[in-house]
Amino acid sequence: NAGVTQTPKFRILKIGQSMTLQCTQDMNHNYMYWYRQDPGMGLKLIYYSVGAGITDKGEVPNGYNVSRSTTEDFPLRLELAAPSQTSVYFCASSSTSGSSYEQYFGPGTRLTVT
């Protein structure tokens, strides 16, 4: 299993541009998450999904959109990028089978908005 994969690894955007961060997991997990990590800080939840077609906001959703058309994929869309969105973005997934809620994280996408 590749686990959770993210593309791209790095990206530089100009203010006002848009882009989509890709996330795919091959563990057949029903739950998927997007977090952002600002320098020197812990991660904060942007959006999450409990299954295909179902998404909900996390702690810091403004400026982002998500969709979940398949179990495997959970893309994050940035519209009208702003410098405040400069951050490292992590995608994660988890399963609720059994009693474990352990989350598994991808390698991250480092985004700079200038």
């Binding site: 809620y101 352990e102 989350q103």
Partner: protein, 111 residues
Amino acid sequence: GIQVEQSPPDLILQEGANSTLRCNFSDSVNNLQWFHQNPWGQLINLFYIPSGTKQNGRLSATTVATERYSLLYISSSQTTDSGVYFCAVGRVYNQGEKLIFGQGTELSVKP
């Protein structure tokens, strides 16, 4: 919401020394995970430990859920242990489960 506090914020060790990192949380949780973020930014799962004690090589962790804290023990530290250690806790809501991260403990192991 749940508050997560980690201590100490920074720690410098000589190679071979032992250390204990602490995570306090403000409410009951279903999930507690410890992560190591290496200098390249990768998040590595260390333990899933909502309660009890686990060991993996030189690392072990204990969570006392009733007293709302968890401890991560690193023995015989190595330079490769350097990085930031995060504690994250979660509760299962009607839909989904959200992890709340602490601010991390930055560990530097000197040769």
